[in-house]
C-alpha cells in the first residue's frame, strides 16, 4: 500500500510517531516512486519556507504584556470601554459598605497592585496527570536535571528517529523549565516513571537527580550505541 502525499508530507515534516516512521522507511527503501515523491515534497516544503520568509519583518522585543502595558489602538477601545463600565459601576453603587461597592474596590486594588501573584500552593487533592511531557528541538549537548532524587523513580531512555528531545512523565504532575542545552524537571510532585527520547545524533547527555550525576556520556557514539535503557532516580545510584 503506497502512502498518500499527506502521509509523506507528515513524514518529512517530522509529524509521525516512531512506529509509523519505521514502517514508512521500510517502504521507501523498497519503492523508488514513493521515495521520489517524498523527496519532491521535502524540497517543496523547504522552498515554501523560503518563499514565505520573504514576507517577514523583524521580531519586536519580547516584552511580556503584563510588565509594561502600553496603550495601543486595539487597547484604547478596551480601556475606554472598561473606564465607562467602571464609571457606571461607581455611579450605581457608590455607597460604602454595600456588596457592589466592596466588589468594585477589590477590582481597583487588584488592578493597581504591584505585588506578584503568589504561586499556587500544591494541594494534596491535585489529580495525578496523565502522560504529560515536553518536546523540544535537540541541542548538541543536553543536561536533564531532576530537581530531586526520587527513591523508586525510574527513567527509561530510548533513541528515537526524530531530531527532538522528548520527556514524558507518567502518573504524576511535574513541571519543566528549558534553558540553553538544559531541561529542568521539577519532580517535587513526582511521577511514577519518566520516558526520555533522544535523537541518535545527540553529542553529549548528562542526567542529574538532586545534586548527583546519575548518567553521563561524552561522545555521540556512546549515546547512540550504549544509551542506558533504565536509570534509577534514587539517591546514590550513579552510572
Amino acid at each position: 500500500m503506497h502512502p498518500s502525499d499527506a502521509t509523506l508530507l507528515a513524514l518529512v515534516q517530522g509529524e509521525l510517531g516512531r512506529d509509523e516512521v519505521a514502517e514508512l522507511w521500510t517502504h521507501l527503501t523498497q519503492c523508488d516512486t514513493c521515495a521520489a515523491s517524498a523527496e519532491k515534497l521535502r524540497r517543496g516544503d523547504e522552498e515554501m519556507g523560503r518563499l514565505l520568509g520573504v514576507l517577514d519583518h523583524p521580531l519586536p522585543s519580547l516584552e511580556p504584556p503584563m510588565t509594561t502595558p502600553r496603550p495601543r489602538p486595539l487597547r484604547r477601545a478596551a480601556i475606554a470601554a472598561g473606564a465607562a463600565l467602571f464609571a457606571a459601576g461607581v455611579a450605581a453603587a457608590s455607597v460604602p459598605g454595600t456588596p457592589v461597592y466592596r466588589w468594585i474596590r477589590e477590582r481597583i486594588e487588584a488592578q493597581h497592585s504591584e505585588l506578584p501573584r503568589p504561586a499556587r500552593a500544591p494541594t494534596s487533592t491535585a489529580p495525578a496527570q496523565a502522560a504529560g511531557g515536553i518536546e523540544l528541538p535537540a541541542p548538541n549537548a543536553l543536561i536533564v536535571q531532576f530537581t530531586a532524587a526520587q527513591p523508586g523513580g525510574v527513567l527509561t531512555v530510548a533513541v528515537g528517529s526524530r531530531p527532538v528531545v522528548s520527556l514524558r512523565a507518567f502518573g504524576g504532575a511535574v513541571a519543566y523549565r528549558v534553558g540553553d542545552g538544559r531541561l529542568v524537571v521539577d519532580n517535587s510532585h513526582p511521577a511514577d516513571h519518566y520516558a526520555l527520547e533522544i535523537p541518535a545524533g545527540l553529542g553529549r547527555l548528562t542526567i542529574t537527580a538532586g545534586q548527583q550525576v546519575i548518567y553521563r556520556s561524552d561522545t555521540a557514539s556512546t549515546v547512540r550505541s550504549a544509551a542506558p535503557d533504565t536509570i534509577s532516580l534514587a539517591p546514590g545510584s550513579p552510572r
Binding site: M48, P60, P65, R120, T123, A126, A130, G132, R168, A173
Partner: protein, 190 residues
Amino acid sequence: MSLDSPRERGPRLLPGDIGPASSFEEDFRACYTARFPALFRYLDRLTGDPDLASDIAQEAFTRLHRRGAMPDEPAAWLVVVANNMLRDERRRASRRLRLLADERSREPSATPSSGPEADLERAEQVRAVRAALDSVSARDRQALLLRHSGYSYREIAVALHLAETSVGTTLVRAAQAFRRAFKEMHGAPE
C-alpha cells in the same frame, strides 16, 4: 535521501504537562518566551502589517494572562484568540486595511538593501508571494502559515477546528494551490 530536521521552534508542552508544582506566572512566562515569536510570525505573514501583528499577539497573551490558568493547548488557544481579534479588527477598520493592502507590497523587507535592482526584485517577490497566498482559501492559507511558523499538526487542527488526520491533506492542497498561483505570477521558483 535524507530527512531534514524540523524547522527550528521552541519547546512544546504536551498534554497533561503543567501540574501544581509550577505557578501560573512561571507557566505564562515560559509560554510567552516560547510561543510569542511563532504567533507574531504567523500574524505578520498573514496581515503584512508588523505593527498590527505585534498588537494582536500582545493582546492575545494579555487575555491569556487574564485567564489565570493555562488552557490545554496554549499555542492553539492563542491562535484562535488572535484570529478572532484580527477578524473583528478587519470588520471595524475595513477602509484602513484597504489602504494597508495597497501599502503592503511596497513595504521594505526585513533584509538589508543590497542595491536598487535587488530591492526591486525582492519587492516583486514579496508581491508575488502575497498574491499567491491571497489566491488560496482562507483556511488553507492559515494552515500553511501556521505550519511554516512552527506549529504542529495538532496545534493547527485545534486552532482551525480540523481533524488532526486532515491537516496533512490540507497542507498538501494549500501548497499545490500556492505553487500554481506563484508560478503564474512570478515564474517557476528556483
